[in-house]
Amino acid sequence: MTHHHNDYDVVIVGAGIAGAIMAKQLGEQGKQVLILEAGTGTDGRFFDQGKEQGYESYMERFFTAMAKIPNAPYPNNPNAPQPLVTDIQKPPLDKPVSDHGYFVQYGPDPFASTYTRSEGGTTLHWLGTCLRMLPEDFELQSRFGRGRDWPISYQELQPWYEIAEQHIGVSANADVQNYHQIDNPSVQLPFEENYNYPMEQIPQSFLDQYLAKGLQGMQVNIDNQTYPIDVVATPQGRNGMPRGDYRPVGAVGNPDLGQRCAGNSNCVPICPIQAKYSALKTLEQAKQTGNVTIETQAVAYHLAVDDNTQNISKVHYKRYHSSDSAAFEDKAVTGKIVVLAAHAVENAKLLLASNVANSSDQVGRNLMDHPTMLTWGLMPCKIGAFRGPGSTSGIPSLRGGAFRADQAAFRIEIGNWGWSWPEGAPIATVPDLIDKHGLFGPALRHKIAEEYPRMFRFGFLVEQLPDPDNRVTIDDQYRDQLGNYRPVIHYKVTDYTRAGMAQAKEVSDAIFQRLGVEPFTQYKTSDPGYVQYQGKGYVYNGAGHLVGTHLMGKDPKDSVVNRDQRSWDHPNLYLVGCGNMPTIATSNPTLTMAALTFWAADNVLNALDQY
């Protein structure tokens, strides 16, 4: 079954969600596909088998990790290093931060997001939020004079959203997610008539219900216009109750497990039962076609170009045998078509290292994230914190509106896990109760029982615009132990986004006051993400939403790929992933990227017909 030559119909770089979707779609049509994955993998195993590690080895690593950060379960591998949230420091003004982790950061603001370099990619620890973008998000420039327009419209992407939602397995109700109940026409989403998600909406947390009741009828004023504050269930890539004939996909290598979210409250960093979608599931389906080979521990480092055709003629990669040693074999493969699905940062790095696809000089530029501002406090009564999926609802009513001409839009995420993000509760906070407050015995137990279930936090995912100066570059000085480039990052959070943060904080204050939430939010100048706007301080965190490093456009002069997601410069090179997105807007980008990738796979299949 396995293809033994070194020329394939398609060579895909990266075994994350984009690479997996591409491989599955092509493999199902009988195309011979090779995926090169830089990181290590579990090869479809759930349990460890002797020295061969399975998914459960990730759990073991998670349980015993002191810092339970998003990448905690996944091995740090010096041959395919990955950024960690614990690496992030405020860059000094005079020199870059180069000694902390994988990224080299020039600032002026720190880039706070991370990703995972393992088979399955960052979907191993994503939250699973599957929001569609709004129609106006595709036309920011023409509607608001900001950012860029996409070369495609919401209407064109709409059918691909449906395919992506069916494949990932999204739990939600269409007649809620079309936002028709929200009194703000800017956010309303046209859904296809009679369409519904494959699974019923995940139950909203007790906290969500409490908020929905408490905020009923609330409005805020922005630029002399009123906007509603509506609590709405979030569509999620996790298994719920199936509709009709849909059958939830269980854990890879242990399919009885994970057919339903069981409330492990651990979507990030790892769902123990794989009830949350990860690309491992799609990879398994790709392998089942018999036409897809996955080679892990294979770091692509150079794309060679045929001078006559401008096609990518070879993908060069370093195949290492163990993450314990820097020894590697230098190898190369050929594909009629080459697809880069290595992640926004890694795609850009590989293109820059190979000096390809960059006639526009836009490769690596326009790096975006959702600077995520948190507010937190104590509810007046117990709302059952630390239970359920990380977030089951949000407040989407400020995702769009006329104010986007002046300031960033944002989505409010309601966190179900108390102060785990802002304060590291309970593990990082309980020692203080003992050491500083002298609590022990029944008094300690009582304090935790009375206070922790009241802990509550919002997350504000604030929009960022494409800015050519926010960029990933490479520099000969900075390489990893295999000799591959480390990403060098220039990044700042502009006033447009800061104004959105300030607006978000005002909304938060109004909600806290209305509900009687005792505020505990603190923005410290020592926090790496500390920024000021009009004299006040705010702090952002990374959302893990890395977007825009090889964006698509209508014009080869200012974009890297066309609407087919094909490189303007190289006829057989396709780029997929969040790097293609010209704007980030206010939705978590994975669903949009998956939809785009299904579309791209179609384009690749059509292109293969000509070979």
Partner: protein, 362 residues
């Protein structure tokens, strides 16, 4: 006390409902037996055994749901939250299998031998001994008799929506299919017999090679086979554990399993009391309270299941939560050594506490 089965063909609707209620009780009565052994396994150990027993438990619950759906589909009402629903262990099984008693005990070879008796296929049992499979054959024949008499009216249309739908059941075991006529009723019944208890003609013919390859795509003693889903009946899955080896293609009942060894460490088990009774804890107030708490949770579970099977299927969501709570309470209890120096650990007694006997009841 469990001699509810009358050896007779089913000829009336009342008799059918009686036997289906018995089927529900029968399926449920195996759960304390399997769960006592399952939860006695020390955390993180004996993973293979744990996975096998858990998979059987999931299938028993699937059988229970199918039996309940059939009862509901023919106009009956499952009765679940009453003291008679649950036997007191040790017990004879309610389908009239009088030739052995089911015990609550820690995971051990003795427990596995007990499981084998519960799951004994008729072709291996002594001629006079009733097996669960034969019990279901009686129900199948009864259904046919009644269907000949009543036709489609045997499955009243207003009973369709009261059944437990597929969407409520997950975690392995099988797929719940709605019962609306004789075919779908037989389909649901077949799912029970084919999977676990087995009836002779639907079972593995002992003269034939073991049917591994055809049903699973697994052809030999590949190590990949560990903990992969396979479609062996309960009896043979338990026999693999008892003998410590996997069946592979070509094996017969006479050859026994000749495949890879299954790693089992019987020392990694909490030595819990066999067939614990409330009297065992009279001298230990703190443990007696743990047992009461367990039984209160069990009683809540039976209340919830009763409501779910009587027109409020939504309550199954809460019931699943209660099941997880029950597991935690059982495991917490089993880690506690009895303070009498016997070396035994505590274990729950699995008693239903009627509403009027619960704390706070007036």
């Amino acid at each position: 006390m469990y001699h509810k089965l009358q050896k007779r063909p089913i000829e009336t609707l009342e008799q059918l409902h009686h036997d289906l209620q018995l089927a529900i009780e029968l399926e449920f009565s195996t759960l304390p037996v399997y769960l006592s052994a399952l939860y006695s396994i020390r955390e993180g150990t004996n993973q293979c055994a744990y996975t096998v027993i858990r998979s059987v438990v999931m299938e028993e619950m699937f059988h229970l749901t199918n039996a309940a759906n059939l009862l509901i589909a023919t106009g009956g009402s499952p009765a679940i939250n009453n003291p008679e629903f649950l036997p007191t262990f040790p017990t004879k099984l309610p389908d009239g299998e009088t030739w052995f008693e089911a015990d609550l005990q820690p995971f051990s070879p003795a427990a596995l031998r007990n499981f084998l008796k519960i799951e004994m296929p008729a072709d291996l049992a002594k001629a006079d001994d009733i097996t669960i499979g034969e019990f279901y054959v009686g129900i199948e024949k009864g259904l046919e008799t009644l269907h000949n008499r009543y036709g489609p009216a045997l499955f009243p249309a207003d009973c369709h929506d009261k059944q437990i739908a597929h969407k409520y059941y997950y975690g392995g075991g099988g797929e719940i299919t709605p019962i609306t006529d004789l075919d779908s009723a037989n389909f649901a019944l077949n799912a029970i017999v084919a999977q676990g208890e087995g009836v002779p003609e639907k079972h593995w013919n002992p003269t034939q090679p073991f049917p591994l390859g055809e049903t699973t795509g697994i052809d030999s003693g590949d190590h990949q086979l560990f903990m992969q889903p396979r479609e062996l009946s309960h009896y043979y899955r338990f026999n693999e554990l008892l003998l410590g080896y996997r069946y592979v293609q070509g094996d017969t009942p006479d050859s026994g399993p000749t495949g890879p060894a299954i790693p089992i460490d019987y020392r990694q088990v909490y030595p819990v009391l066999k067939n614990p009774q409330p009297e065992n804890y009279h001298a230990f107030g703190a443990i007696a309270r743990l047992d009461t708490e367990f039984n209160l949770t069990l009683s809540l579970l039976l209340d919830q299941l009763h409501l779910a099977f009587n027109g409020q299927p939504d309550i199954l969501v809460a019931a699943v939560g209660t099941m997880f709570g029950l597991k935690e309470k059982a495991q917490n209890m089993m880690r506690v050594p009895l303070p009498d120096g016997s070396g035994h650990h505590a274990a729950p007694t699995w008693r239903y506490i009627p509403i009027d006997k619960r704390p706070g009841a007036c």
